[in-house]
Amino acid sequence: MTQLLDKLTEKQVAELSYILNIGVQQAAEVLNEMVQTQIRLDVVHSDVSRLDIQQPSIYQNSSDERLFSAVALGFKGPFSGNTALIFPTQSVPTLVPLLFGEEPVADIEEVKVGILTELGNIVLNGIMGAIGNKLKKHFEYAVPIYTEERLASLMSASSSNEQVQLVSHVNFNIEKLQMEGKIILYFDVGTLDDLINMLQ
């Protein structure tokens, strides 16, 4: 794996980040339409790393007991892996009415999971679709999955040492909701080579 990562030049890491940023901007446009209020998604920084040598920035809050919400979308194609949208669960009570309105529902938990799963589905499709279109390649997706856990558990549950991650730390600036989230791409190790080849 180290050899694989060593193959990435600074230019290729920059290109990976650039492609991810295209996806994030696409996602921002979609989010604007969904909540009908101005949203800015700012990529704070992106980095590529082995999962067994974690970047401190990712785990700086690993002792944090707060719950985080995650929507994960598996993908297969020219390279395969998972992508996830992660944000603090405490934002959910504000976010859900923005998307669904205030109408009464029979099962609040079911509505919450359904809405956030669809939000993640649209955002993550925007990112992966932008990457696919940019590379002129096609991805197939698995049905997205919603979970709530501590950040450290989420990160370890949705990945393995057999994968390489591209993490984009994104600030979601919504007028009514100051919110920070992360968009993470996990690549299966074997397919990182294919991605590198496409970037050359």
């Binding site: 969904m34 669809e118 589905n121 992966m128 696919g132």
Partner: protein, 122 residues
């Protein structure tokens, strides 16, 4: 009455599309939660237009399109999907979809697709 079948596992999207059709008093909306459910409803009642998601459990939208093609169905299908890939759109149109719009659906895009579907069934 024009009967529209919305096939989508997301109740948020079904609600958005159902709300769009509320401005059309001559439209009766029924719903299904995945492709197989949609095909079952098609065999149970006469449906004029289908609005179909792609990424769904049990049976995906693309599998549903293939099954409709196998059955030589003439029902106009409007794909409404979060998938923005050019190749996905091309595949769906080749499988017989009438229109392909992205989620969240814009009202003008839904209107245009609905009018095109109406022209197909007249």
């Amino acid at each position: 009455m024009i009967k529209v079948l919305i096939v989508d596992d997301s109740f948020l999207q079904r609600k958005i599309i159902r709300n769009f059709f509320k401005q059309h008093p001559d439209v009766d909306v029924i719903e299904a939660v995945h492709g197989q459910d949609g095909l079952d409803k098609l065999s149970q009642e006469k449906v004029d237009i289908m609005v179909l998601d792609l990424l769904m459990p049990v049976m995906s939208g693309e599998e549903t399109l293939k099954e409709l093609k196998n059955r030589e169905s003439k029902i106009p299908v409007i794909i409404c999907s979060a998938d923005i890939q050019d190749i996905t759109k091309k595949n769906c149109l080749e499988l017989g979809a009438l229109r392909f719009i992205n989620k969240p659906p814009k009202e003008n895009e839904l209107s245009e697709a609905f009018e095109a579907a109406i022209r197909c069934i007249q």
